[in-house]
């Protein structure tokens, strides 16, 4: 009798654990997850996307395109990050996460909120732009460009000056041509934290032993979709001073195309048509600037002032 009671008690606990779920809103989507994702904002409602911990397929049945660490087909995407996790994204509605034994939770979430989400957005026909979004006036400006060019740095600078961000690293544009808010967390390297006088000791590293930190921006996070007004493509040059050029025509189109987050996924997921149509709808409504800054040393305040004054961002 005692043992029966013990058994039933244990059984109830297991059921309770399995049933625990978390619901969030990020990038305009209600996301239900069976594990906690503390980076995201808690929300209630019927989910658009389910994130499950489980077994990912070993291989996709029909593969359109391979990457070194991914395979893709129409509506299916499988990503593997060695020693961390496998991520299976399908129909823009579900992500199955299979962590490797011993993987650190925040590392599992890092690639979930990065490449796996990127594939999810493309499957849903959204436009993920590689960059960070800041609110100026009542509209959104995306800072984009190659890795290492200073997209997050300039956004973090604007946060330090009291502006609000909507997204860091991936900025998602919806069919209403708005940037939808992502989540209130930025990833910032140690050198930029020092420039902004932020003590890294109070921050968590994005991965153990990496000098890149999670910077929570709760008070400077804007949690509503905003009309996209400008896309600023940052590039570097090896001479002093700043320059800018407003792009038009094919240059404007190609600039956004090549700064789409993981453009190779677009072809791999057979989303070229949706991507092309959304871009064509968007381009007449926004301004696209190419801004050139000196490689180094970069004064974030000079760069910030140049951007505000030249693009009249505060007007």
């Amino acid at each position: 009798m005692l043992s029966f009671k013990g058994f039933s008690c244990k059984f109830v606990i297991v059921i309770w654990n399995m049933a625990e779920t978390f619901t969030y809103k990020a990038f305009g989507l209600i996301i239900k997850s069976d594990f906690e994702i503390p980076e995201l904002l808690v929300f209630k409602g019927l989910p658009d996307v389910q994130i499950k911990s489980g077994k990912a397929p070993v291989q996709l049945k029909e593969i359109t395109k391979y990457g070194v660490k991914y395979q893709a087909a129409k509506n299916e995407f499988l990503l593997e990050v060695d020693h961390i996790a496998k991520y299976y994204v399908n129909d823009g509605a579900q992500i199955v996460v299979e962590p490797y034994k011993g993987a650190v939770d925040k590392e599992v979430r890092l690639f979930l909120l990065g490449s796996a989400f990127g594939a999810l957005f493309l499957q849903r026909g959204l436009l993920p732009v590689h960059g960070s979004t800041v609110k100026f006036g009542n509209s959104a400006t995306i800072f984009t460009g190659l890795s290492g060019v200073g997209k997050s740095s300039i956004a973090a600078y604007f946060v330090s000056k009291g502006y609000h961000v909507l997204a860091d690293d991936i900025s998602v544009v919806n069919h209403k041509l708005e940037v939808v808010p992502g989540f209130p967390n930025m990833k910032i390297w140690n050198d930029v934290l020092q420039k902004l006088d932020i003590n890294e000791k109070s921050l968590a590293e994005i991965r153990p032993n990496m000098k890149k930190f999670q910077l929570p921006v709760n008070d400077n996070y804007f949690n509503e979709a905003l009309a996209l007004k400008n896309i600023v493509i940052i590039i570097t040059k090896n001479s002093p001073g700043f320059e800018y050029e407003e792009l038009s025509g094919i240059k404007k189109f190609n600039a956004i195309k090549s700064n789409t987050y993981r453009y190779r996924f677009v072809q791999a997921l057979e989303q070229q048509l949706d991507h092309f149509q959304l871009l064509n709808k968007l381009l007449p409504e926004i301004k696209v600037y190419k801004v050139t800054r000196p490689q180094s040393p970069l004064s974030l305040s000079e760069f910030g002032n140049f951007l505000i004054n030249t693009m009249k961002l505060n007007v």
């Binding site: 990457g67 070194v68 991914y70 890795s147 290492g148 390297w189 050198d191 930029v192 090896n238």
Partner: protein, 288 residues
């Protein structure tokens, strides 16, 4: 299954690699006017973050140097697989193996490597100008076995980390490896016997080009053409601190720097390799 369609253009910095890339661009283009020095595409650099991120589907900025190195061979394999043409890739990394004795630059996709070598005494002076550092401060760099590009752990740099090592480490790593056919080109021969030196390299690559085509490409890549283009429009591979990328290109420029002690230190550290490639005579004096 694999195609041997990659030619690595490898060198220690400031050794003639860029000159040769411009020559190749001119040789492979049909144009009668010199190629723009700023059109040497970023994607042809083997340490490109953009290519790595696109091909892996991951952000290199979220990965450790070691994780990136483990994936780099597959990035090159995939580029090789997707190309029906010869691919030329500039490399400043030394040749080395990652875990399980796997080479960073896989032999099965490599048609060959052209290794550019230059008198380290002139490399020292040129590298010092390029980095806007005093010549005597640069000497430790050439002797540093742990020297690397883009290895700062506190910030995100624009290219992937490249392990370079000391000047001798670098030369030996490429010239002595036996997995990829290697053709060594001395910078001094590129300057003194230009046609002969460039023709041999073209033959090694396996390109079928006439003597006239090679001569024309050499003319369009002349130092004065490159320096003028840089003067007019700048060159994006220059560092912000240096005055110009195409500076002198002279052989024996080190003799204009009277730091005999520094030169002795370079010779003391790199004597064997200098001797092997004809930079020192039997009396341990620089040939150039």
């Amino acid at each position: 299954m694999y195609k041997k369609n990659i030619i690595w253009l490898a060198s220690y910095p400031k050794s003639g690699n860029t000159w040769f890339r411009i020559f190749l661009t001119n040789l492979l283009s049909d144009s009668d006017t010199p190629a723009n020095i700023n059109d040497l595409t970023e994607t042809s650099i083997s340490s490109s973050r953009k290519i790595f991120d696109e091909y892996t589907g991951l952000s290199s900025s979220d990965l450790t140097f070691e994780e990136i190195d483990r994936m780099r061979p597959d990035v090159y394999r995939m580029q090789s697989l997707e190309s029906d043409e010869l691919l030329f890739k500039k490399v400043h990394d030394k040749y080395y193996s990652i875990e399980n004795d796997q080479a960073l630059f896989p032999a099965e996709i490599s048609k060959g490597v052209i290794y550019f070598i230059r008198n380290p005494l002139d490399v020292l002076v040129s590298f010092a100008y390029h980095s806007a550092r005093p010549v005597n401060k640069m000497i430790s760099t050439l002797n540093d076995s742990n020297y690397a590009f883009c290895d700062n752990k506190d910030k995100l740099q624009n290219q992937l980390r490249q392990i370079i090592g000391s000047w001798s480490d670098h030369v030996k790593s490429w010239a002595e490896q036996t997995n990829i056919p290697v053709h060594v080109v001395r910078y001094e021969d590129m300057v003194n016997s230009t046609f002969d030196s460039f023709s041999k390299a073209v033959k090694f690559i396996g390109l079928k080009k006439t003597e006239t085509e090679i001569s024309d490409a050499i003319k369009m890549s002349d130092f004065s053409v490159l320096a003028n283009q840089e003067k007019k429009d700048g060159f994006k591979e220059k560092t912000i601190k240096s005055k110009s990328f195409f500076r002198e290109g002279k052989i024996g420029d080190w003799r204009n720097h009277p730091e005999e002690i520094i030169m002795k230190e370079i010779i003391a550290n790199h004597k064997d390799v200098m001797m092997k490639f004809g930079y020192l005579n039997s009396k341990n004096k620089s040939v150039f």
